[in-house]
């Protein structure tokens, strides 16, 4: 195993990964300062006979410095993360004219409802496929996430997507794939004894191959209602 994040295949993944590595460098810096400081102090001030420790109860300047610096870093991280978060999950961030799919999780499968030929969910030409989630590349996709029984979590590692599917709620999320390929949906929330095997195929198509697949499935669905 190498120490890396999996391949990223979505637009939001770029933002998430860059933030991850930013936090990585901040925390590694802090970690090195503290660990090296502790080890250095342990060595330098190791106990010796006849020596006495410095008698001090603290230093107000030092306290202010090490309160202010972490506070500033944290506030910066908060604001920066908040902007990215708003771009991913904010109510205004949802693109118009996105392909909208409905995903209903149940023990232990993902049922994906496609909107049919008219590209509108909620009418008779919709069709549902079990455990197959096929989308076009470079096109925003909105998923209306629901669950029938327990709480599940819709996790596609390569697309950097994770959202709990909660019974009684419809949670919308959106994302846009930037790489074609085959991935998997994994369930990330303990949902029972088959949790570890609640997976579905994800296919990110080139636009024309998606259209071909979609037309075929659409036609098949209309033929056998």
């Amino acid at each position: 195993m190498d120490w890396s994040l999996p391949l990223n295949a979505s637009t939001q993944g770029e933002a998430i990964d860059s933030l991850f590595w930013l936090i990585f460098w901040i925390t590694v810096t802090a970690l090195v300062i503290v660990e090296a400081g502790v080890l250095w102090f342990l060595w330098k001030y190791r106990g010796r006979k006849g020596r006495k420790a410095r008698y001090t109860h603290g230093n107000a300047t030092a306290e202010i410095i090490w309160t202010a610096i972490p506070a500033l870093v944290m506030v910066f991280l908060g604001i920066y993360s908040g902007r990215i978060w708003a771009n991913i999950r904010g109510i205004d961030s949802f693109p118009e004219n996105a392909l909208t799919l409905e995903v209903v999780a149940k023990q232990f499968e993902w049922n994906v409802t496609y909107p049919g030929a008219d590209r509108m969910l909620g009418n008779t030409d919709d069709f549902t496929i079990r455990n197959r989630f096929e989308i076009p590349v470079n096109e925003p996709v909105v998923v209306m996430l629901e669950s029938e029984d327990a709480i599940h979590s819709f996790f596609i590692p390569e697309l950097r997507v994770k959202q709990d599917a909660v019974p009684g709620m419809t949670v919308p999320i959106w994302f846009q794939a930037i790489e074609t390929g085959e991935f998997q949906i994994a369930c990330a929330e303990l949902c029972g004894l088959g949790h570890y095997r609640m997976r579905a195929r994800v296919v990110v198509h080139e636009p024309d191959s998606f259209e071909a697949w979609y037309a075929e499935r659409s036609a098949a669905a209309t033929a056998s209602p």
Binding site: F108, E109, I129, R130, G194, A200
Partner: protein, 303 residues
């Protein structure tokens, strides 16, 4: 405050804790420590007065045999997309697997559970040999079967994938267990009669099976040509019921004399689809069908 008061207070807390535990268990329907062993479970259930069933002289034993007919066209069988389980898919060399909730030869209906509903009295010994429910190629084999109260249901996984066996009966205690590896076996018994108990695998949503639990050995399941046969009956008058997962129940009364074979026919038709399929124990006072039963049927029918 004296020490005695305190001691009493603590004892009271104990009682509350224990009561809450016990009470919770009972209300949940899973309380008590029931042995997993077959014999104990077999003795359970509120069977009729313990009059041993009359031994049937083979010379005079009667038989009810017949067929299940089906008017109309069977609904088209839907292909099951098993591509996610190559281990299972590879076991099908003659075309892809299909759904199996309404099958049979033309004009016939298979997988109908036929059993004597009324007219049998006494207690019947529990057969010692188990009834097999096999999970093979991501299907249940057989799809419909019966067994006696207390008889062991041997559940076996013949696939190298995870199956879970989830059953939530109404009269019996349910279970939801898993078999992650090929060759695993579990044994379960049902302590009360119940027709039918749906069994499902939540990992493979297409997998479904029905088990009829009867207090006597007089039951059968129709073949592809619709035929069934219930033998070794003492002569008498019986109410025979047929049960199908999609088309519901039919029943008729039949009288058989010594050594006779009575022939009966159940007639189902395509327009009985989506009938109200009862899912509860026979031989007790009937309840009105509650909503939850319908839910179970819808799930079982896979629509």
């Amino acid at each position: 405050m004296t020490r005695k008061d305190w001691t009493r207070g603590i004892s009271a807390l104990w009682v509350v804790a224990i009561a809450a535990c016990g009470g919770g268990g009972d209300a949940g329907g899973a309380g008590g420590a029931e042995s997993a062993g077959g014999e104990d479970a077999a003795a359970g259930g509120d069977a009729a007065p313990a009059a041993a069933a009359p031994a049937v002289d083979p010379a005079v034993a009667a038989t009810i045999a017949g067929g299940v007919e089906f008017a109309g066209v069977h609904p088209a069988m839907t292909e099951i997309d098993m591509s996610e389980e190559p281990v299972c898919l590879d076991k099908y060399n003659q075309g892809p697997p299909t759904t199996e909730n309404a099958v049979g030869m033309d004009g016939r209906l298979a997988n109908v559970f036929v059993y004597v509903k009324e007219g049998v009295s006494g207690e019947y010994p529990t057969p010692s040999e188990p009834v097999l429910l096999n999970q093979e190629a991501c299907r249940y084999l057989p799809h419909v079967q019966g067994l006696q109260v207390g008889q062991t249901l041997l559940i076996k996984n013949s696939d190298a994938v995870l199956h879970n066996i989830n059953t939530q009966p109404t009269a019996n205690r349910g279970f939801n267990i898993s078999q992650p590896q090929a060759g695993m076996e579990s044994r379960r018994e049902f302590s009360r009669p119940e027709v039918m108990i749906p069994v499902k695998c939540d990992v493979h949503g297409w997998m479904s099976s029905y088990v009829g639990v009867v207090s006597h050995p007089y039951f059968s399941v129709s073949d592809m040509d619709g035929s069934f046969s219930i033998g070794s009956l003492p002569p008498g008058t019986y109410t025979v019921e047929a049960w199908h997962e999609l088309y519901g129940t039919l029943s008729q009364e039949v009288t058989v004399g010594e050594g006779e074979t009575a022939s009966i026919t159940f007639g189902y038709s395509a327009d009985m689809a989506n009938a109200d399929v009862p899912m509860e124990e026979p031989l007790v006072i009937r309840h009105a069908h509650a909503g939850e039963h319908e839910t179970a049927v819808v799930a079982g029918a896979g629509r």
